[in-house]
């Protein structure tokens, strides 16, 4: 017996200690960064993840999804357009002026989500500039860089318009460099313009609808116009002709490449979106695997996350182009008849009705009696937890560019024929008459502002329009049918930085003094 034991012992020790790589265990469903960034295919996948960041999650996920895609309409809940009964992103506190560094919701999300997107872009740019592989021709690399810089500009613009002064991050940060001071808002804006100029110079020149879902030169031009027009009224509402001239010229380059969708709602409904010649940029969804966790149809058509206000409904003209109540066509008993057709395409009363018995009765309460119809798809009824909504979220479209053109040109040259034409084209598609001839510049300005509210309702632009025209106080402090008391203070033109960020930066990042 004994003579076996010693060899057995020795052999087993050898067996046990023989496996050097026993401790080498690697993730089996994630990619090691040492094996990535080695081919053009890797860069393609990384580019995809920049487009697809935070698009599908629910509003209460961490991080939430859809803030700048399928939940864009929720932004209007902090304006005079609608009420958000579910308080998504803390819209109630913001609308009622209860804004502090710990408010949360949009006040902190815009910050964290934007930097998340910016970081993803910065990592891409760093790896791209280091990549030497021959499978990625320089022209393609430039184009990829331009797409990323377009997206980076988009998110810096969000930071700029929400907070003003914020840190400017253009390189991936590390633990050592994580504490960053803010820079003046003008420097953020300058970076946005630099990135967009690079994008304009290097993106494909075909229109968006011919570029298989990648942003294109005209997309960057349209965004640049949006950025410049946001900034074109200084800090008191006075138009800056130089900036508006740039806006006009950008619009003039974009407009010829696109045409208005003959059917208004086709821009927003799944069936009409593919290669729609009006869409300049949209965030895309695809059923069944890449859709919002809770369908847009469910959120708007069943939960009534957005409740249009009565005063918003009242702002739609009658078919003769006169205001409701003034027009002889006003029919108080049937308020939706003889109205701008966009009203019944944007808002439903009580429940969405697509005709032919295709109706859906919402389950949540309807605080104002109205719901948001603009982004619903008729083929998706009944709207429930099993609905898969794959309608794309339109971010930029010709309708907005025409309105920007008209607004800029009116400020530059007054209501000339080109201003009238842009507006007339936009209204003609919904069979609304042109504006009466002979409007003054100021009258035209008012009409265009109203037109934007109607045409671009719930596309997430109203809040920023009120801010850039510097009429937020005048409008929001006079909302009387808002379901909650509205309150605007001029310090809200720039939100406080999130308290968590102040805490984490140990004095390097300084709070906006208005909120100390």
């Amino acid at each position: 017996m004994k003579r076996y034991i010693i060899p057995f012992f020795v052999i087993s020790i050898l067996l046990l200690s023989g496996c050097d790589n026993y401790l080498d265990r690697n993730p089996l469903d994630q990619i090691s960064s040492s094996t990535f960034w080695k081919s053009k295919t890797d860069f393609d996948m990384a580019l995809t993840a920049n487009y697809g960041l935070n698009t599908t999650g629910a509003p209460w996920d961490n991080p939430p999804g859809g803030v700048w895609s399928y939940l864009l309409p929720n932004w209007d809940c902090i304006t005079d357009n609608c009420f958000g009964q579910h308080n998504n992103f803390n819209s109630k506190a913001i609308a009622s002026g209860d804004i502090s560094s710990t408010t949360g919701g949009y006040i902190s999300l815009v910050y964290s989500l934007s930097y998340q997107a910016i970081a993803r872009g910065n990592i891409f740019l760093k790896e791209l500039s280091a990549y030497k592989g021959t499978d990625f021709p320089d022209a393609d690399k430039k184009r990829a860089e331009a797409e990323i810089r377009f997206l980076r500009a988009y998110y810096y613009f969000q930071l700029y318009s929400a907070y003003g002064d914020v840190p400017l991050i253009l390189e991936p940060l590390t633990l050592e460099t994580q504490e960053q001071p803010k820079v003046p808002a003008a420097q953020i804006l300058a970076q946005v313009i630099t990135d967009l100029d690079f994008a304009i110079a290097n993106l494909n020149t075909v229109p968006y609808f011919q570029n298989t879902g990648h942003v294109t030169k005209s997309t960057a031009q349209a965004l640049k116009a949006r950025v410049l027009i946001y900034d074109a009224y200084g800090n008191n509402g006075t138009p800056n002709i130089e900036k508006l001239t740039q806006v006009r010229d950008l619009c003039l380059q974009v407009i010829p490449q696109y045409s208005l969708s003959p059917v208004f709602e086709a821009v927003f409904q799944d069936k009409g979106q593919s290669t729609n010649p009006e869409i300049i940029y949209s965030v895309n969804y695809l059923a069944p695997d890449n859709v919002p966790t809770y369908a847009a149809d469910l959120i708007y058509g069943d939960w009534i996350v957005v409740s249009p206000l009565q005063s918003f409904v009242n702002s739609f003209e009658c078919t003769d182009g006169l205001p409701w109540g003034v027009s002889p066509l006003t029919d108080a008993a049937n308020p939706f008849s003889n109205r701008d057709p966009r009203l019944s395409k944007t808002v439903f009363v009580d429940h969405p009705d697509w005709g032919g018995g295709n109706v859906h009765f919402p389950t949540n309460s309807r605080p104002t009696g109205y719901g948001l119809k603009k982004f619903l798809c008729p083929e998706n009824t009944p709207y429930g937890y099993t609905t898969l909504s794959q309608q794309n979220s339109v971010v930029l479209r010709l309708g907005e560019v025409l309105l920007m053109y008209a607004e800029a040109q009116n400020e530059i040259a007054g209501p000339d024929a080109s201003v009238y034409k842009a507006i007339t084209d936009l209204r003609a598609r919904v069979d609304m008459p042109p504006y009466p001839a002979g409007l003054s510049k100021a009258e035209m300005r008012e009409r265009i502002r109203k037109e934007r509210r109607i045409e671009l309702a719930f596309e997430g632009l109203r809040y920023f329009d009120l801010k850039r025209w510097h009429i937020a106080g005048e409008i929001l402090n006079n909302v009387t049918d808002g379901m909650l008391p509205y309150k605007w203070e001029d310090k809200f033109y720039h939100w406080p930085l999130p308290q968590n960020e102040i805490d984490k930066n140990h004095g390097v990042l300084v709070q906006n003094p208005d909120y100390k």
Binding site: T48, S100, Y111, A119, T212, N290
Partner: protein, 837 residues
């Protein structure tokens, strides 16, 4: 860490009847041999083995009834609920969606409570539930082979509706002596667990039940059996738990745990032993999660409203598999030299690894709720997911011991541990430990003192270091996630890949060193005193770093910080037997123990504030950090005369905070650390006695001065429509100027001024309770032996019978900071029998 017969395991998989012995090791020197995962203490469990001799059979059975120890008191009167609902909404500036006075009056004056109910949803969900347990075991040994075989069965209905659990256990322990040199054995056990529960678990079901208005019943009043959504459109609620449970929207899990081990013990030479054990623990579980489509109706109008929120539709089936393997072997040497010099040595090696994998299948569309298998669904929308992950560890360990006449005891340990979780350059760590003991009463000069009362005194000290690496599976690796898929062309999906975390390849072992001094004393033949002073220092704490949002990535794991826990523990036990008088023959044992410790961060990087927690040098780890609540504003004058609070529109009835830095205003710079995250002390009493076949035991336990930050359901009224707790009857109003309960606001829609983290939300979690009381009787031997029974004992047992606490709502023993709601603790009355043949 729990070691069952020397191998990592899970106490809940074990049949408690199989346990022969449990011991807890806290000091580093004794835990050291159990390695890297012992830093937070080791629980050693030994299962029963047979004894040489006659085969014995034992049966034990128990029947018990469970009820929650405590439950929230909610407003269940509909009219009162509606009035408070309106008040809260109006206070929050919400002027729509209110109950009209007509509705309130109708409910108040109704005689038909079928139509106008005052539904107590918690009462519907929580019911007393029976539990039964049966165990049968056989053990014995003959011809050098011993065995212990046992079977167990538990059937436990949940006190929360919809929860059911059945457990089957079988265990076979065998050992055999081949010859006088070689022994081998095998332990083998199988557990089957059958669990049925609402698919999102207990806390979710509980809060869903809280988030219902009393104004409607679970089913329509028309007797049709249809389920209710709401009574009024503007009400808020969560999904109906009754509809969920009645329609079996469950997650049903079958879980098989198979633990097997074999060991070999060879006496190589005199004093030299070679021991080897190999173990494989497998855990296979499978769940079915079917989301039935349940229509819900309006309670008032009986109209169809919506489908029950079951989180999508269809069936998810998931197979989980976990395989843990462990092999260790060591040489052990024991020898006595000369006059009382005992030397021992051990050297060994261990390797272990764990592989987890799952496979998940989903089909969305089912023609009916009857057939609940994947193939019964339509393949139109289906998904498959799955993955695998693993970790491994390898260790070398050694021990040297010296003992002189049991008077002086010395021991040294050394471990060399390697882990897959750290990068190859830093994955190995060296961890030494030392201990010394002096048995004072073995000294001649003490014996000479002839102290009759002092039976034994041992003074001991130890110091040891242990490593910890238990943070994630691949914390050092720079990896990219498959995320951010996107469809460019609206017809196909492109895969996305992105870096989502900041990587830190340079992490190394976290080290916990424990310094311990103490003594064990026996006196008066029955009094045992154990005292320990310890200081546990954790350095290079492995933790997720806090990173600024500007980084845009999830935080990396870093080694940073030193934390100290120092404390004392005192245990007293007194055992005695009454030898005369009426109670002659009474054996009794009284015990008391108390422990007190202080937690402190002695070294930390930049301070980290997250929500209401602070990590900063000089304070407790995760110390509470918030505004100090100092009262309730009673008048506008008081508001005007007090420091301005933020930019709030403060009104009477609001919380008043302390201007801690005295700068004349209250803002985030007035947040201060508040103690109470860790208890001042824990204590326990126990008592056991037996007399003429009767036995009685009682255990008391308590925790003093611990606080929990609780919010949401049960604290904030009307979160998802949930009724306020009854203490909101005392809320501040103009006619009831409360100084404890503020003005009532509307759930999550309440203004920031009431929702800010403040000490108003801190609750005292101290308690003292009778944890267990058991009273038993063993029938006289002469009586039972006639029936061939060696021993027959019957007993009654009660758990958590009495609790003294100020903690509101639920059970303080289950308390914790965060959401208030969790599965309640049970009060158990049970009756049982043990029979031994």
């Amino acid at each position: 860490m729990v070691l069952i017969d020397g191998v990592q395991g899970n106490l809940s998989d074990l049949n408690p009847n199989n346990i022969e012995n449990i011991s807890v090791l806290k000091d580093a020197a004794s835990a050291s041999i159990y390695g890297a995962r012992a830093a937070n203490g080791v629980i050693l469990v030994t299962t029963k083995t047979g004894k040489e001799g006659k085969i014995s059979m034992e049966y034990s059975g128990n029947y018990g009834v469970h009820t929650p120890t405590k439950m929230y008191e909610l407003i269940t009167n509909s009219a009162e609920y509606m009035e408070m609902f309106n008040e809260a909404r109006l206070n929050s500036g919400l002027t729509s969606g209110l109950y009209s006075q007509d509705i309130i009056n109708t409910y108040r004056n109704a005689t038909d409570r079928n139509l106008y109910p005052n539904t107590d949803w918690l009462d519907l969900i929580f019911n007393p539930a029976p539990t039964q347990t049966h165990n049968l075991s056989f053990s014995g040994g003959t011809g050098g082979t011993r065995f212990d075989i046992s079977l167990g069965y538990v059937n436990q209905e949940g006190i929360m509706k919809g929860f059911n659990y059945e457990k089957y256990n079988i265990r076979v322990n065998l050992s055999s002596q081949v010859n006088d040199k070689i022994k081998f054995g095998a332990n083998f056990s199988v557990k089957k667990g059958v669990k049925s529960a609402p698919r999102q678990g207990a806390a979710d079901t509980f809060l869903a039940a809280m988030s219902q208005a009393p104004t409607y019943s679970p089913q329509l009043a028309d007797g049709s059996g249809r389920y209710t959504f709401k009574a009024y459109d503007f009400e808020y609620n969560n999904k109906s738990p009754i509809a969920l449970i009645d329609n079996k929207v469950n997650r049903n899990t079958d879980d098989y745990v198979i633990s097997s081990q074999g060991w070999l013990d060879i006496q190589l030479l005199k004093g030299l032993k070679w021991y080897t054990k190999a173990a494989v623990n497998m855990d296979f579980s499978k769940y079915y999660d079917f989301r039935a489509q349940v229509p819900l109706y309006n309670f008032r109008t009986n109209e169809f409203m919506t489908l029950l929120d079951v989180g999508g539709s269809g069936l998810v089936v998931q197979d989980d598999q976990n395989v843990y393997k462990n092999l260790y072997t060591y040489l052990n040497f024991d020898q006595e030299f000369g006059d009382g010099h005992k030397v021992s040595a051990q050297a060994g090696y261990s390797m272990e690894d764990n592989v987890y994998q799952y496979l998940n299948g989903y089909r969305k569309n089912y023609p009916s709720d009857v057939l609940r298998q994947l193939n019964a669904g339509s393949p139109s929308v289906q998904q498959a997911t799955g993955t695998q992950n693993e970790w491994a560890m390898m260790s070398f360990f050694g021990r040297l011991g010296y003992n002189f006449k049991d008077r002086y005891l010395l021991e040294a340990n050394l471990r060399y541990d390697g882990t897959s979780r750290l990068n190859p350059d830093s994955r190995w760590g060296v961890f030494p430990s030392f201990s010394a003991g002096w048995r004072v009463t073995e000294e001649q000069f003490v014996k000479d003192l002839d102290l009759n009362w002092l039976n034994s005194l041992k003074i001991r000290g130890s110091y040891g270091e242990l490593g910890n690496q238990n943070i994630g599976l691949y914390p050092y690796q720079s990896i990219l996630a498959l995320t951010g898929n996107y469809s460019f062309n609206d017809s196909s999906l492109s895969s996305g890949v992105a870096q989502t975390s900041l990587a830190n390849p340079n992490i190394m072992w976290e080290t916990t060193s424990i310094l311990d001094f103490g003594f064990d004393l026996t006196a008066f033949q029955g009094l045992n005193v154990t005292f320990d002073w310890y200081k546990k220092t954790t350095t290079d704490i492995l933790r997720g770093s806090q990173v600024t949002d500007a980084v845009g990535l999830n935080p990396p794991t870093v080694n940073n910080g030193t934390m100290e826990n120092s404390g004392v523990e005192l245990g007293l036990q007194y055992t005695n037997r009454v030898n005369s008088g009426y109670f002659s023959g009474l054996n009794y044992n009284l015990g008391f123990n108390i422990d007190h410790y202080k937690n402190k961060l002695v070294d930390f990087g930049a301070r980290e504030i997250s929500g209401y927690s602070l990590r900063e040098e000089g304070y407790e780890w995760d110390s509470f950090y918030m505004l100090e609540w100092i009262g309730i504003f009673q008048s506008t004058t008081e508001i005007t005369n007090s420091p301005k609070q933020f930019t709030d529109a403060t009104v009477p009835g609001d919380l008043k905070f302390k201007d801690a830095n005295k700068d004349g205003k209250v803002d985030n710079d007035d947040r201060i650390p508040i103690s109470g995250r860790y208890p001042a002390f824990n204590y326990a009493f126990n008592l056991s006695s037996n007399w003429r076949g009767f036995d009685l035991s009682a255990q008391f336990q308590g925790v003093e001065n611990v606080k929990y930050f609780v919010n949401d359901w049960g604290t904030i009224p009307f979160v998802q429509g949930s009724p306020p707790t009854t203490d909101w009857r005392d809320r501040w109003t103009e006619s009831n100027p409360s100084t404890t309960m503020p003005r009532m606001y509307w759930g999550w829609g309440a203004p920031e001024r009431i929702r800010r983290n403040s000490s108003w939300y801190l609750q005292d979690g101290s308690y003292f309770r009778l944890k267990n009381l058991t009273f038993g009787y063993t029938l006289p031997n002469q009586l039972t032996q006639r029936a061939g029974i060696q021993q027959l004992r019957v007993y009654f047992s009660g758990d958590n019978l009495v609790t003294l606490t100020k903690y509101p709502g639920l059970d303080p023993e289950r308390g914790g900071s965060g959401s208030f709601v969790n599965y309640p603790q049970n009060k158990i009355y049970s009756f049982g029998v043990n029979v031994k043949f």
